[in-house]
Subunit: 460 residues, 4 copies
């Protein structure tokens, strides 16, 4: 194991197996960039407090810039012997800056760093997931444009319910993803990466030094200093992981939506529904059965719900009943966080390309739209609106009509007029003929105005 | 079983056990008020669409007003034989309005109602929980006022770490609850109860009729119509329960905070820490051991985390992989919702009264503050700031100093000067004496300005 | 609030809201019977230890018998003002036995009782769930008998895979439920309700007294004393709830199986698959759409998975990180336990009657069995077995054959011989005709012998 | 991507991102050994069925033996480009056996392999965890031997309750781990790795061939063929993952116990309780605070509960509502399985070495044992047993006595006789003196016989 950030009071060597058990660098290296940010702001604050000279600060900033460059160029390989990413970066600074590196950790704590790093990670990843959702919404628009005038079968209880526009079906997914994007937006807007908590008891560095350091850092980066990052309560800052739970909850909602989309598309692609033709590039075959074309992408996406829900359970369990302030248990907040973020991002990236390639088997859909039961509600509404039958009675009349047709194995259209009229005198074949058409069904609905698919521009 | 809202197409009677299994009135009666709201707005919309005459609408409004009055006066007893609250209310309307009641359900669906009702429930309850959190924050202020100048022991890893102000300890909880209240506020701000989804396919009632009805309804109630409630996608509206998951997630975060507060207070009240004297009114005794005074309120609050996490798991599980649109599985969204809301509310209500009655055992706290290890960080910082020792070296020096004191079973204060100086020439007893005082420790921290407790006014 | 089992050291009255929060009698009354058992065994042990005289013991036994009678006759109404069922029963004894009741609680603790009561509850309920599973297995046999010679479509990835026997499909559910019943059986076999833990530190009653008491109690009840019930470690007995977690885990597995059965049956009952006709008695209609016949029982059963998984999460969360021994948090173990037990029992009871009433739409099934892709694997195996083609090649040949048929929109049967032979010379129409029959497909399988449905006798 | 096990019917190349998303070799390589077992038994079965000649079979067996050797010598590096471990091994066979490898996959399916492999993995790992539990039990015995005559403080509600033996405290953990080991034992006893399911529809290989193959395989390995491994229902075998859920449930119970042990030991090691001295090799320091010796192993173990509970949630979620038979969602069963197994194993391995090194601070414990409230129950029992006071009265008397001592801030021992007697005439100082001794308290308990620590021999 490489050099630790502590040890003076210890006589014995750390147990090897425990050392491995406690190591986190194999996953927390993902925080490397943000950890360097923390160090750089800290260096600037130490300079502002005259604990570092301008020369010392300058040299440390440069060394840290070098590490950032390595990270951005993909050349940063975490040192598997280190305890964590904080030790790893400290070691790198030591290698390049020698003794000067011993001043870097002045007046700060890993508790401080780890919360800051993760908050920054969440800010960055949150924005990425949000953008990916917008891209998926665009993909739904692309598909909607192709089938703008297509009617579709609306299901409830997985039974045929009413005719809907296919675009309205697609817009349902859009609506869910828009709400998800809204949640992510608000989450990001209210999240900050905080400075100055110390181990838990604040630090002796004056607030002004942090402020100044932060301003310099943001200017150096060319970022707008629109957000203050100065901690409000140091005990809460090092103890709380509400921002992780909240992020994982929002991702769990996104994942719920994805699992449902997967379920629907799997159903619609099967031989029984046979409404969708899925792009082969996202399907796989069987090792035994040569004919199979399996919707694996969708199944894996649905199955990934286990992981994303499990991660939420994990972080909640970790935090339950922990005393203040920081406890090492909280190291277990990282793997679930990274896992959910990466899983949802993978899914959205693939989904974005998958959706526009889905093809409708319109002939099969048209055939399903001939199913008369889809128009039962419309017939009842006709009785209400045109024949002034109270709705409860109309509902009952049509219910019995359906049963009649079922028992006699005939179409409603084919029931003789004299029998039709025994259900209600206003029921006439020509009226029914008019009602029982897909276009009539969808165009009669007026509680929401008809909407066209509209592509949005998304900046990369 | 009382009259159902459906049945025309059915020949056989519903199985008794299944009827019981599918019944929801025993819990969804909690939506009664909002269900009547839906009916009233719907009546006004049917009038606007000239499906109901002014007289008919007037009569139905009156009947519905009567039900609202029963609810507000606590006289509404749900009919246990009904399928659900919607059938129950329909029956009541039938009893008073006779045949006219058959027109009430025109052009609407239970799918529509149930989503609207729950959204309104969440709006109302969300505001209540938010207010209760503010009250708890005030209770923390009351306690903080009493112990404004008290220093306290800050823990990390449940080991004594550094001296903090007791107010800063209390403000840590405040900070968490403030963030929770912020989350609830944003949630409420972005939640709406929507109208006009129908079963899933919108309705034939024009959007203008809903708008007009809504305006009239809000005016009648004396509420500001600041929010539109017109559905944007009908399929998503009847299918999605993201607003339930989001609410239960936020409550899970609140509960996480409560479980941690409980853990800390239980510890501090035990004989070993012995910092807190808990109000007897919130404790219980033992049936066997006469001396026991157990912190049951805190334990039950910590244990309630099971329920609140379990409810979140429940709703997530229900929604996983469900095809669009409404499925009866979703009836299982209500019990977890009600359970978490009521549990958290009960806890906060008790906590509000509990907190100001907690007493500090200041003598014991003062004694603990004499523990020299609490000042180890301050000694290291002294070496850094006053003696220009690089932090990593200072950390090591103090670590070895602590070990020395431990091995020789003596206080740092009592280590002879000549030995002290072997650790570092700048280490002198009088300097140490100055550093190792609670007031010195807390007043040296400057990364966050000192803050006084401030009571907020909360409107009831 | 009625009399408590503690209070001597308390000056202040319990807070009303806290009292309500801490009350458990509204759900733990379900343990009443087992709590009386504990009292009766305890009385006999106190007699054996000569702490109670024979007369005193006799009188208490009689009073307790009276309470048991009330319970068995459904006349026991828990007193909502009591703290818990233990206080409630103590009060009842007090009412009938006066001052003598003050001796009942000698040398025992509620911690002791509550663990004993719940263990006994689990024993009883476990046996009931096991029996219900056996009955469901029988119902599957009844259905299997009706359709003994029916072939069926086997799915993987929800795509048509291979022909299977319908009985083998049903036996798959049986197999799962048999494994569940096995798990319950082993669980029950290894569960005991233990005596003599005290609050946590054992009691001063000699082990022999418990043994004697237990023997007398079992004899009195006419039960075989085959199981010892004497505690092995008192601290573990009052602290551990592993038996609750284990029970809820097994029920979660049962529920997983039920959710999958529900999913399949919902699919098969829809218009698209259209293989099953569900019994109307277990379906419901729609308030808006008169034609709907919704598979509500199955949906509710699938949705109940939320509750059953949530309950498992709940108990795990409650127990996480609790210090030894008993903590009041553990009161939260009861509601999830009762909820899962009752939910699964309700489902099984209905399912038992539901299954035999399901009807197959054999015409639709026959039609689906004509789908040639179902025989792709059989064609490949023909090439392997009869034509000595290595499997990997055979798989590839048939894969290309399928693609050819798809592109040319023709049946494999109708591909001209000369083209067929370009895929492989051994592919001849008459051979294919033989292979592509459902009976041929199922009878060729020999890795499991054919099995007939067999009804089991289940004692009530 | 390397060669797949399917593809004939596909025109388009698999999407790269989807390929990465669907890849499992990076984790399912852990099944390599068992997958080769499956292949070897399968080869022997194909030989028995004369589909492979003896020479062919011999050659394949040898190639497969070579792969096993690589695995056992740690030389097996999974090929990251492969879809899964099954394809990887197929490729290796192809490299060495050339065209003959095309016959290996005859009449079997990956669905079949994957279930078999995982069942075998569970069997092996289950036995390992069981053994590790026994070793931890032995470690507890080692510690118990060292402190055989030590009394200890028993807690309920984290309040001092009664005096217990320290060995009884340790035996409580033993008891829990014994029950866990029992559960694992029963689980292993009822688990089998099954052969012959095919994709879902059985295979055309006669059952006898499998039997013969299995016998040969076991003989070859020198294992007893005590268990049949012939599948009973092929649909259930490829669809069900109950054995994964059950294993993860049992591990969740083990983890619950570990989290509680961690909590207790963290408390006992803190300055406030100060009963335990933890071995330094399993602790870490702080980067800021030089004095800290943090119980990180225990904290990390407690925190790992998140992972283990989360994994259980994950697999339950994956399986919820999946239609029969195999679905690709089920690929997500592996990561949670491996994660929980490895986490629990790591913990137990460290715990085994950690426990015997824990030292008691007996002076502090003796001091705590002087706390008079620990003897309140004993005083009440004295009144019951010696003075014939009914227990409820005795409880009340002692409760008031405690309050008196508290209000007057004096020890019970120091209350003047005349005042003592106002509580009860039988209360005399010399009697109290006798009662209020740790040895008296523990030796008076007779509901469980005293037990000595006993080391068990565990075969490696």
């Amino acid at each position: 194991m490489s050099k630790k950030l502590w040890g003076g009071r210890f006589k014995k060597k750390t147990d090897k197996a425990f050392e491995a058990f406690s190591r986190s660098v194999q996953f927390d290296y993902k925080l490397a960039e943000y950890d360097v940010f923390h160090s750089q702001i800290h260096v600037l604050a130490l300079k502002a407090a005259r604990i570092l000279t301008a020369t010392e600060a300058g040299r440390l900033m440069k060394v840290l810039d070098g590490i950032l460059l390595d990270i951005s160029r993909g050349r940063f390989k975490p040192d598997g012997d280190c305890e964590d990413i904080h030790s790893d970066i400290q070691n790198r600074v030591h290698k390049k800056a020698g003794k000067l590196s011993e001043k870097l950790h002045t007046l700060r704590s890993r508790n401080d760093q780890v919360a800051f790093d993760q908050q920054w990670y969440c800010l960055v990843q949150n924005a990425r997931v949000e953008k990916m959702l917008l891209k998926v919404i665009n993909s739904l628009n692309l598909l909607a444009e192709k089938y703008e005038y297509q009617e579709f079968i609306g299901y409830t209880h997985l039974q045929r319910a009413q005719v809907i526009r296919f675009t309205d079906y697609l817009f349902a997914w859009q609506r869910m993803f828009e709400k998800d994007a809204g949640r992510l937006g608000r989450y990001g807007h209210n999240l900050f990466a905080y400075l100055g908590a110390g181990a838990l008891a604040k630090t002796t560095l004056p607030r002004e030094c942090y402020k100044k350091a932060l301003k310099q850092f943001m200017k150096r980066k060319g970022w707008k200093p629109k957000k203050t990052f100065l901690v409000e309560n140091s005990v809460a800052q090092v103890s709380d992981r509400d921002f992780v739970i909240e992020f994982l909850s929002i991702l769990a909602i996104v994942q719920t939506h994805l699992s449902r989309l997967a379920e629907d598309f799997i159903l619609y692609a099967g031989k029984e529904f046979d409404f969708f033709d899925l792009p082969e590039e996202f399907c796989t075959g069987s090792s035994l059965m040569p004919h199979k074309k399996n919707p694996d992408f969708l199944e894996l996406m649905r199955g990934a719900t286990g992981k994303v829900y499990g991660n939420l359970t994990a972080i909640l369990t970790v935090m339950k009943g922990l005393p203040l302030a920081y406890n090492r248990d909280m190291q277990h907040d990282k793997e679930p966080l990274f896992s959910s973020v990466e899983t949802v991002k993978e899914e959205l990236q693939i989904l974005e390309r998958f959706l526009p390639k889905v093809k409708l088997k319109t002939k099969n859909i048209e055939k399903a739209l001939e199913d008369e039961s889809l128009y039962a509600t419309e017939i009842a509404e006709f009785l209400v609106m045109e024949k002034k039958v109270p709705f409860a009675q109309a509902h009952d009349i049509v219910g019995r009509l359906i049963r009649y047709a079922e028992v006699h194995r005939m179409k409603i259209r084919h029931i003789p007029v004299r029998i039709l009229r025994t259900f209600h005198p206003g029921l006439e074949p020509c009226a029914l003929e008019k009602i029982m058409r897909p276009e009539a069904a969808v165009s009669s609905k007026r509680s929401i105005p008809h909407r066209l698919p509209k592509l949005k521009k998304i900046k990369d």
